[in-house]
Amino acid sequence: MKRRGALKTLASAAVALPLLRVELRADELPADQVFVLRDVAATVLPSAIGSKGQNDAVDNFLRWIREYKEGVALSHGYGEPRLVKSGPTPAPGYTKQLVALQQAAQARGGRFGTLSLEMRRQLLDDAFKAADVRTLPGRPDGKHVVADLMAHYFRSSAANDLCYDARIGRNTYRAIRVTTVRPPALGRK
């Protein structure tokens, strides 16, 4: 109930935000859409990381959006190299998708997080199909903001650790000796 109350307060604040809004950069989401994203995150990210972990995951994703660079050469690959550059920032598309998701939720009776799980699933399923999202992207690819949020978290080193309940620390700094033993469970030091 506490959490629901807090979300209600945040929702009211978000409604008031347009009056206070300053010019947004093209690579930022408006505050009201960030609110929607946090609301959706509670459904699409695992409960095991708690609401703080889910908010942190959203913050990391927002940072990813802010720090996105356009026109940068992507990995050439090896074996069959080709030059591919990053496309335009996905932020404007994300904003439209979040607005659409919010409107679709309201048409079904309210804020996304208040709908039944099956209704939320249906909304996202429809949105993903419309965006041609078939699988979890290897990393965010700009097709749909929610799939990209999920990819950003579930493809992370932290999610890998959570899946295996083990301190693996993939692609992070580690002393070599740490990797020579079975990784300890997350609850253990």
Binding site: A42, T43, V44, L45, P46, S47, A48, W64, Y68, K69, V72, A73, L74, S75, H76, Y78, G79, E80, P81, R82, L83, S86, L117, R120, R121, L124, D125, F128, V133, R134, T135, L136, G138, R139, A147, M150, F154, R155, S157, A159, N160, L162, C163, Y164, A166, I168, G169, R170, N171, T172, Y173, R174, A175, I176, R177, T179, T180, V181, R182, P183
Partner: protein, 530 residues
């Protein structure tokens, strides 16, 4: 026209060039050495932790601008053209070839022999391993004798690789840690210690995996070499009335109309298997209408490397993907082939893997998975046994028609035709392709049997040749080779070709250590003649 003079002009700034330059500078202090590289210098090592992060998060290439858009080749496997070359982002694998690679003709009646003895090459393997600070253990196979130990003990096996080693050895093959050019035990040579970021093939944030840019910077700071980067050599020029090379003509990327004449007593072509034969062919003139160093007609021929067979296995033992995915196990069991037996030679490699154990958006019935559902479904697959990646690089002998040619349909800004590489097996290698696949499949199946394992699909043959080499092959007969065993071209007494292009055949394991070893041998010979 600008003129730049030196004692030795090295064309190409990759790993073999820097190893040769370092050796020459040691042997002949005060020698004026210039290295000319078409690509740019990327020396911003302080940014590599950021590039590492961005490579993971955004898929960005961590070596900014390491390519020249109009300097491309059909059939190549890497676009990188920069100071340091492809070794800026190699994995650091440092396996030796074996004596059989040097004696294919005399032992098996196949392909050709190298004009170097194993004892001679082994000396230079030791030196190369020392310079690259290779971490390795002695091979469990007695035939792999060494005359000196590695600089460091092997990279310790991760828990995953320890588990996989126990599994794989039930097949009867003996495995050992892949020797790696990484600072495992301590920082060394101005590079940091390994922090297991596990992104060696992209970028190493600490510099623990050997990277030639460090050595270039050290040599430049010590004034042992002059580096001219972003300077494309388009032509080698002969002296009047002689077959000696008198100049290399360079064009700077920012001044495409200005020619710089690089004059030197000795020229060393160190531009790798693609651009070395390409420059020789481009440098054709009235006396050498088929290209320099090409009286034999073998420049651009016998392009080699090796093909590989890959498979995935599933086993019951549990591993934890992400511990050290760039390290692997190697078995040299099939480096040897008994004379008279059906010929097949390959290494056998084992990596940890997460194939089939990645998170999925949908359940098997197509239902969208959300939050806990997704995690639960992922966990149910991931924590039930392990996925294992298997590979065998196999001996793939090139035919004379395995070629690099000039492709008039693709030109750079100067109108120079770009290279086109089309690798071809010789007749005997073509005839044994099916048997090689069957053999490697049986080896993988034998390995997979342990721990209730199984291959998850039929092993597949690569559609490209890895660790490419050849195009300026060494030999004793000037009628059938480009250069002698030291890389000195038969046709031009002051022109050497070093490293990968000189290899007659590409072996059946990673090639870089061998490219470096033969280049160090070239350095010794060049120094003797100075």
């Amino acid at each position: 026209m600008a003129v730049h003079e030196s004692d030795v002009c090295v064309i190409g700034g990759g790993i073999t060039a820097v190893m040769l330059i370092e050796r020459l500078a040691q042997l002949k202090p005060g020698l004026r050495i210039t290295v000319v590289e078409a690509g740019r210098s990327i020396f911003d090592r302080e940014n590599r932790p950021t590039y590492h992060r961005r490579a993971i998060e955004y898929g960005e290439h961590p070596w900014h601008g390491d390519y020249i858009e109009d300097q491309t080749a059909k059939g190549w496997i890497s676009m990188t053209m920069a100071v340091g070359g492809q070794a800026l982002h190699w994995g650091g694998a440092c396996n030796r070839f074996s004596e059989e690679d040097l004696r294919l003709r005399s032992m098996y009646g196949l392909s050709t022999d190298w004009p170097i003895t194993w004892t001679e090459l082994e000396k230079y393997y030791v030196q190369a391993e020392h310079r690259l600070n290779v971490a390795g253990d002695p091979s469990p196979y007695a035939e792999d004798r060494r005359s000196a130990p590695y600089s460091q003990p092997a990279m310790p096996l991760s828990y995953n690789l320890q588990t996989l080693k126990k599994w794989a050895e039930q097949s009867g093959l003996k495995f050992s840690p892949l020797p790696m050019s990484r600072n495992v035990t301590a920082p060394a040579d101005g590079r940091g210690q390994c922090g297991l970021y596990d992104t060696c093939g992209d970028v190493c944030p600490t510099g623990a995996r050997y990277s030639p840019d460090y050595t270039y910077q050290q040599l430049i700071a010590a004034r042992k070499v002059t580096l001219h980067d972003r300077m494309l050599i388009r032509k080698l020029v002969l002296a009047d009335g002689s077959d000696r090379i008198v100049a290399a003509q360079g064009y700077h990327q920012d001044r495409p109309n200005d020619v710089t004449d690089y004059r030197a007593k000795w020229f060393v072509l160190a531009s790798g298997q693609c651009w070395s034969p390409h420059l020789l062919l481009l440098s054709a003139n009235a006396r050498f209408p088929n290209g320099l160093a090409n009286r034999s007609g073998t420049v651009g021929r016998y392009m080699n490397g090796h093909k590989f067979i890959s498979a995935q296995a599933m086993i019951d033992e549990q591993t934890f993907p992400g511990q050290n995915m760039t390290h692997s196990l190697i078995s040299r069991e099939h480096f040897r082939c008994a004379p008279g037996a059906p010929f097949v030679r390959h290494d056998t490699r084992v990596w940890e893997s997460s194939a089939g154990k990645e998170p999925r958006l949908r359940a098997a019935d197509g239902r969208l998975l959300l939050g806990d559902e997704l995690l639960d479904e992922w966990r149910s697959r991931a924590t039930r046994g392990s996925s294992v990646r298997l590979r065998a690089y196999y001996d793939s002998h090139p035919s004379a028609d395995s070629r690099l040619t000039l492709d008039p349909s693709s030109t750079n800004r100067y109108g120079d035709p770009m290279p086109k590489i089309d690798r071809q097996l010789d007749a005997a290698a073509t005839a044994r392709e099916a048997a090689t696949l069957a053999h490697c499949t049986s080896v993988f199946e034998r390995m997979a049997k342990a721990s209730n394992g199984r291959l998850t699909g039929a092993p597949t043959v690569s559609d490209y040749w890895d660790h490419p080499a050849g195009g300026c092959r060494m030999g004793t007969d000037p009628a059938s080779s480009v250069c002698d065993s030291y890389g000195r071209t038969h046709d031009h007494e002051n022109l050497y070709v070093i490293g990968a292009p000189t290899l007659p055949t590409g072996g059946c394991t990673n090639g870089t250590l061998t490219f470096v070893a033969v280049s160090l041998r070239s350095a010794d010979r060049i120094a003797e003649g100075l």
